[in-house]
């Protein structure tokens, strides 16, 4: 039925969230994934989480790579801009997007082939840069679109649909994310909505690199006996360490629990994570303990789920780069272009001596002490009183005829900008 467009009319009685939108406003197109695909459950969880968080639909940007999972963003958040990038390289595109506008919520969606095989390098580097985002891997251990080859997260010994046992060690993205410096790391299961939705909400509220590994069985190619990513296997081996209640900063806390069963984590934005203990003692703020517990689980064949690690006061890439509060894509000419007077000072400096790096003058210095770089135009500052630049930029091209430097001309030559017979069309810029 995927060829049928979803009706855009909403039932008038649908409940609106605090932002004024119904749950349906967070939906996307009808899914073209296989019936029963775990990815559709994750899409539904993302829709639910976004609706419950009262985030404006267009304030989310969703990015993905290539693969079944990376198709999923078509099926949620239809009012958000989306970018289906190239295979394994979504992290760099999301990093750039985040740099351009720090004020949107970034949702990266990827798969195990996309993030652990072809894109392992970019996966690691986006975590270590601390990009403020929610990065979800829909992890099924196989390549679905190319019909069932193992991916790099397939467990050693897991049997493919064709009966072949995987002989390679699996890459555990949770361990890698923690190691690389992600500040919010969880694992969940597409079949456990009650665990997954609060995890996604908490990750979206987290102001740093948040990573969720969501085991999402592939009904077409990896849901058979012998697979360690099947519905049955994950249900049997799921070891949930905790349950999260995500409480937004403005919400009143009404539910009460027995003391001793709860750990409260207050995130930097004021939101509160209540971690309900399930059986064993587990401290999600202890990075080393988290690594140990995850590795123990792997050794025992468990699928350890829950909020595995959180740093409640993360520092993100914009913090490291000390960028201005306003989004970089909102800066105007006066902020960006230093103007002609600053350029005059720069020119003056370049007539005297050069200011480019490496500083040649500093390397002349033979005595001890820190090398210094003399910038003759060091006193210049951005032209604060920038004049209005409303004129068409095409009228002000520097490649107009006057830009030809006289001294570059062969001295014996007269030069002309056009032929006598015709108007010098290529002398001036064509109109756009």
């Amino acid at each position: 039925m995927t060829y049928i467009a979803k009706p855009r009319l909403h039932h008038p009685s649908l409940v609106k969230n605090k932002a004024g939108y119904t749950r349906r406003d967070y939906e996307g197109a009808v899914s073209t994934l296989c019936a029963g695909c775990g990815h559709d459950s994750i899409s539904a969880a993302i829709i639910q989480a976004s609706y419950e968080l009262d985030v404006l639909p267009h304030q989310i940007a969703k990015l993905s790579g290539i693969g079944c999972s990376s198709k999923a963003p078509t099926y949620f958040l239809g009012a958000s801009h989306g970018f289906n990038t190239v295979h394994g390289r979504m992290p760099s595109v999301m990093t750039g997007a985040n740099l351009a506008n720090k004020n949107l919520v970034y949702m990266g969606v990827s798969g195990d082939g996309d993030s652990a095989s072809i894109g392992l390098g970019q996966f690691a580097h986006i975590m270590r840069r601390g990009v403020n985002m929610t990065y979800i891997v829909m992890n099924n251990g196989v390549y679905g679109l190319t019909k069932g080859q193992f991916s790099a997260t397939a467990d050693k010994g897991s049997i493919s649909k064709k009966g072949v046992a995987n002989s390679d060690e699996p890459i555990d993205l949770v361990s890698l994310a923690i190691l690389m410096g992600a500040t919010f790391v969880g694992r969940s299961f597409s079949g456990d909505k009650h665990q997954l939705v609060p995890l996604i909400k908490a990750a979206m509220a987290h102001k740093g690199a948040a990573f969720l590994d969501v085991i999402s069985p592939c009904v077409a190619f990896n849901n058979h006996p012998g697979s360690t990513k099947s519905y049955d296997y994950v249900r049997e081996h799921n070891e949930a360490l905790n349950r999260i209640d995500f409480i937004e900063s403005r919400e009143e806390i009404t539910t009460s629990y027995d003391p001793g069963t709860l750990t409260t984590v207050r995130q930097h934005d004021g939101s509160i994570l209540r971690l309900r203990k399930l059986g064993e003692e587990y401290d999600a703020s202890d990075k080393v303990a988290a690594m140990k517990r995850v590795q123990e689980g792997m050794a025992a064949g468990e699928v350890v789920t829950g909020l595995l690690y959180v740093d409640p006061s993360p520092k993100d890439l914009h913090h490291h780069l000390n960028t201005v509060d306003v989004a970089l894509n909102m800066l105007g000419d006066a902020d960006l272009c230093p103007g002609p007077s600053a350029l005059d000072r720069i020119n003056a400096g370049l007539r005297l001596s050069d200011t480019s790096s490496p500083c040649w003058a500093a390397s002349l210095a033979a005595s001890s002490g820190p090398p210094s770089c003399p910038w003759p135009w060091a006193s210049c500052s951005p032209n604060s009183a920038a004049p209005s630049r409303a004129r068409s930029p095409w009228a002000a091209r520097p490649w107009a005829a006057s830009a030809v430097p006289r001294w570059a001309l062969p001295s014996a030559y007269g030069w002309s900008c056009g032929r006598a017979a015709r108007a010098p069309a290529w002398c001036s810029p064509g109109s756009p």
Binding site: H81, P340, P358, P393, A412
Partner: protein, 615 residues
């Protein structure tokens, strides 16, 4: 006594040094002091892919006429400071030229040549007698030879002292010690050498004017600041690394908020070139102006992403500081050999916009322009500079910025436009130029959102693999490319004083050598018109120029005549008319090479025309 080359303000001095010995600064001081006397110089670094220990050269062409290309031929004076390369350095001196060397240790006469003039100065002995610290000995030895040369060549030592004064302002101790070293060299030569025997002299002139002296990478970085780039992502690669570093330096001075001290830019040193271009594309998709700088191998890695940006129509600016290829090639040598790999980067049918700056001045202009063009055309734009322009100081006209110029962000639909009911189709050509409107993410709560993808889509960004939809899109992209030819920098034409059937086409760093070569040809009675191509897609003026001449010489710094290939295929031309003149050994092309190449071909053509006359 060998003959002695005599020249005033027109000679070449080459310094042979060991990499990492601090010689670069002293050699540059030498070049600047001549500039200060009003005499143009054109210095070039010839360096290895190495930090310390390997041979490195610095060639200074002193040229009152202002020929800034490499001259070619032997050198008039060799300052031979590297025993490793002694034999080849001595060999390179023109007969009658001069060899300047450190005469501390006696050397057998077999190490010299009879037909050149030898000037020995015991540099090591002088430094060892004066300094005890090893590092000081090494660094001041360089200043001492600058002092010695200043006497031999008549360079005004006051200019050198003024340069010291500017550099060590407020550090009088350093100033004094450098002046002392300079005078050590000067005094020794005055006492022991007949400077009049050296007939290469610098004479004060007024030919520098208000020109600036700057490296192309530095200039391109400044162009990125003026062009409004806020995101720069890069991966270190010779010869482009200093571009991103210069952008950082410029931004530190020009792009911090006065009150908060915060940065109005973001620079990321990425993990590789794939990530660099990915970050640029992500930022530009989200409405920031973004660029990366790289060289050939980086372009190879970026190719898939370049295809995405082109097909999904996302702006991106890539400054390619070309080096010798293929593969790792010659990392520290220059070439113009990435034209094809950039113009047609990506799988499938793609074409990209290339700009060809001639010097640092155009590196500034074109990098700023590229940011406008990328936003206007919603596509990747390459600034095709090279090592010769990027990493050498070059005299060029001062940077200029029009007070009235505004950032052109191209066709961007705002929330107000959407509310006013304007039709938004992300890939819908509403006015016939092939360029659609776009929206930035986060613009409007219910309108204007779309899904960006590398797959085929219809005018409203909906996924489609229908043949007709695909063809419509590809034809619109072709239309956009035609628009690009009209708004990209137009070619520059030089006409011979006499009518001629011959033309020459060239681009980029060949320019200064070409200016000199045309003078040489003209002096020999060979008249040639010239056209400098400044962008791809080619403007109509390029095709007209070709059709107006019987023979066109195409001068390039690559083996395969890449520009010629592009001209032939884009304009569907008969290749027999287009004669390649190719220089690709990794050194910058010289006027002598060009004029000799063209003169040889013209000589053959003249024979043909005689036959024609006989028939």
């Amino acid at each position: 006594m060998p003959q002695a080359i005599a020249a005033v303000n027109d000679f070449v001095v080459k310094f042979a040094n060991v990499n990492g010995s601090g010689s670069a600064s002293a050699n540059e001081l030498f070049a600047r002091s001549i500039l200060r006397m009003g005499v143009p110089v054109s210095p070039r670094n010839i360096f290895p892919s190495n930090i310390q220990g390997l041979p490195t050269w610095y060639e200074v062409r002193v040229t009152e006429k202002g020929y800034l290309g490499r001259r070619g031929g032997g050198v008039d004076m060799m300052v031979a400071m590297n025993p490793q390369t002694w034999a080849e350095d001595v060999k390179e001196v023109s007969p009658g030229g001069y060899l300047f060397y450190d005469s501390t240790k006696p050397m057998p006469s077999s190490m010299f040549r009879e037909d050149i003039n030898v000037i020995g100065v015991p540099l090591t002995a002088i430094t060892n007698a004066t300094y005890s610290d090893a590092r000081q000995r090494q660094l001041f030895k360089n200043i001492i030879y600058v002092g010695a040369l200043s006497v031999l060549l008549d360079i005004d030592d006051n200019e050198i002292k003024r340069l010291f004064g500017e550099q060590f302002k407020g550090k009088e101790k350093l100033l004094d010690s450098n002046v002392k070293a300079l005078n050590l060299g000067r005094d020794w030569v005055k006492q022991h050498v007949d400077a009049a025997a050296v007939k290469l002299k610098v004479r004060r002139a007024d030919n520098v004017g208000d020109r600036i002296f700057v490296e192309g990478n530095n200039a391109a970085a400044l162009g990125a600041v003026y062009g409004g780039a806020t995101v720069c992502a890069w991966y270190p690669i010779t010869p482009s690394s200093s571009l991103a570093e210069a952008f950082q330096a410029h931004c530190k001075k020009l792009r911090h908020d006065k009150d908060s001290g915060k940065a109005k830019y973001a620079i990321v040193q990425a993990e590789d070139e794939l990530a660099s271009i990915g970050i640029v594309i992500g930022a530009a998709w989200n409405g920031s102006r973004a660029f990366t700088s790289t060289s050939g191998p980086g372009i190879s890695l970026m190719t898939e992403f370049i295809g995405l940006a082109s097909f999904a129509e996302v702006p991106a600016v890539i400054v390619n500081v070309q080096r010798g290829g293929p593969s790792t090639g010659m990392p520290t040598r220059t070439q113009q050999s990435d034209l094809l790999s950039c113009a047609y980067a990506s799988n499938g049918d793609t074409k990209h916009v290339l700009l060809f700056p001639e010097d640092p001045g155009e590196c500034f202009d074109f990098t700023a322009d590229a940011l406008d063009l990328a936003d206007r055309l919603q596509t990747p734009v390459f600034v095709m500079t090279d090592l010769d322009i990027g990493m050498n100081h070059r005299l060029c006209k001062p940077f200029h910025w029009d007070e009235q110029r505004a950032i052109d962000r191209g066709k961007v639909m705002t929330a107000a436009d959407l509310d006013a009911g304007k039709t938004f189709g992300r890939y819908l050509d509403v006015d016939g130029d092939g360029i659609p409107f776009r929206t930035y993410p986060g613009t409007h709560p219910t309108k204007g959102a779309y899904f960006t993808r590398g797959t085929t889509k219809d005018e409203y960004a909906r996924y489609s693999e229908e043949g007709a939809v695909y063809v419509r899109n590809m034809e619109r992209l072709q239309k956009k490319f035609v628009t690009a030819a009209k708004i990209a920098p137009q070619p520059v034409r030089y006409s011979s004083p006499k009518p001629t059937r011959y033309g020459v086409i060239y681009f980029g760093s060949t320019t200064p050598a070409m200016a000199e070569a045309l003078d040489q040809l003209e002096a020999a009675g060979d008249h040639v018109n010239a056209l400098r191509v400044r962008a791809f897609p080619f403007a109509q003026g390029v095709e007209d120029f070709i059709h107006e001449h019987d023979r066109i010489f195409i001068v390039e710094q690559n083996r395969d005549a890449q520009l010629r290939t592009m001209l032939m295929s884009e304009f569907v031309l008969d290749g027999r008319k287009l004669v390649p003149v190719l220089h690709y050994d990794g050194t910058p092309i010289t006027a002598r090479f060009i004029s000799a190449g063209i003169a040889r071909e013209l000589g053959q053509l003249k024979i043909v025309s005689f036959e024609k006359a006989a028939s």
